[in-house]
Amino acid sequence: MLTVALSKGRLLEPTVEFLARAGIHVPEEILSSRRLIASDADARYRFLLVKPMDLPTYVEYGVAAAGICGRDVLLEVSPDLHQPLDLGFGRCRIVLAGNPSPAAGGRNMLSTTRVATKYPQVAERYFRSRGIPVEVVYLSGSVELAPNLGLADTIVDLVETGRTLKENGLEVLEEITESSARVVVNRACFHVLHEPVQEFLRTLRRALE
């Protein structure tokens, strides 16, 4: 039996749909109840339901042999994992966004810019690669509020449709990278559970075609 971690939140529904198309049925009980762990009907897979940012940890420690999570999470956490498949769904962009006409503040134009984000590592790396000094303010949600309240000059965030940005008076200044759902596999499990892991990957690949 192969243990597969699934991300709660925005990716859960498309993940379950995709797996169903591939012939892997995530049990109802895990979706409707508070149970966070359950096996499928023919006991080939055991599923764990975890927070997206925690998913790489479960796989890195080998508690789950494989998992499905967004590329945004992988970029932020930089886990030491195999990433053999891009499943294509859950597409979105990681962008730098800001207020197009910020209220004139009293800040020195050379002062370090502040960026609010759920992705501190991604933001840090992005600004560093551009040679721009930055102060990263970590927030775990409602990031879009920050520029309007003066908490930060810009935000680095995930954008699917761009509606939330618009409703908060923000616009995309630059696209940093793209994200979609990825399959991750523990390095040891890749070899010692070779057959079940390959079977899992083959099944998903077939559904992609």
């Binding site: 940890t57 080998g62 508690v63 990433q83 053999p84 596999v185 040891a188 070899h191």
Partner: protein, 383 residues
Amino acid sequence: MVDQLKKDLGRFRGAIPLIPRGVQCYFGEEVNRRRRVEAILAAIARNWGFHEIILPFFDYLEDFVYGLGSQLGDRVYRFLDKDGSLLALRPDLTTLVAKTVATRMTDHPIPVQLFYSGEVFRQERAGAGKQKEFYQIGLESMGVSDIWADIEIILIAIDCLLHLGVEEFKIALGNVGLFNGIVSGLDVSHEKLQALRDAVDHRDSSRLETEVADLRLSDEKKSFLVELPQLTGGREVVERAIVSVRNPRSRRSLRELSEIHSVVESLGLERFLTLDLGEVRGLDYYTGMVFKIYSSSGGFELGGGGRYDDLLAKFGWNLPSVGFSFTLDHVLPLIGETGNLEIPACPGEPRVLRTDGVASQEIFTNAWRLRREGNCIQLGVRS
């Protein structure tokens, strides 16, 4: 574990000395286990004709940088000597063995076969099996370019684990020459190469597709590169690969892999071996076969190694070499009651089985049998 934690919590009285992340202490039964396992591995190394070497804890930083590459070079604990020169706490033991042999053991008969154990230090993100200070036990065989030295190294690794009663493990064996042979003719930057290797290493086929798109390679080669990380298994992966590569370096790498595989198979040990053509990562000094050892119960590497033919030349003696090491902390949890494990007897000076340059399968079969019977056997010393 929990008992000790409760005691530690109960002892809290305000300000206490902090312990840095990523270091460990051992006491009691745990110490006995570690020492015993160390003694067992040392005895096995001796019986394979290896001699122990004790190495310094620090050395000049620049001596480590070549072998480890910039990636690991960044993670070295460095400090200043009184005269201002940069020193480093050893992040790796192989480099130190190489330096010592190349500079101070040049009159030693070839092959120079050494083993060592001790702590290495790296500024890693502690967790997921990584510590900042960890204990390695390893061995190096220096002076043999022939494939039999590679085979020996793989067999020692298997012998060690079998002695420790570990039966559930896999050695994932690759050869960096395969990938390097394909990309060596390409006129691309170091960064581009690193990105390609990284994509293969993560088996990230979608990134790999993007990375190969602008390479000056035939479509067939490109699709082979994209397929590379999926080529894992038995000898059939070599057969699959050999039709796609024509450059001599890659072809030699594939031949070596299949040769190692057939010897391991002839000893009935192939269940421990997986060929993994996507295994391209390792320290920068590797030039040929590379491998990692995984156990089925944990998510972490037990150890690994490979061939490094150019490292010693860096220190002034051009000696082709191959070696590997175990990370003790990852091996220990797999071992049951070590009290029951016997430390193999060391019958003294090794008996030498001549290989005359090329070792045949019979020699390995013979040596493996004699060693399992407790004999001390060394292969191929030039007279």
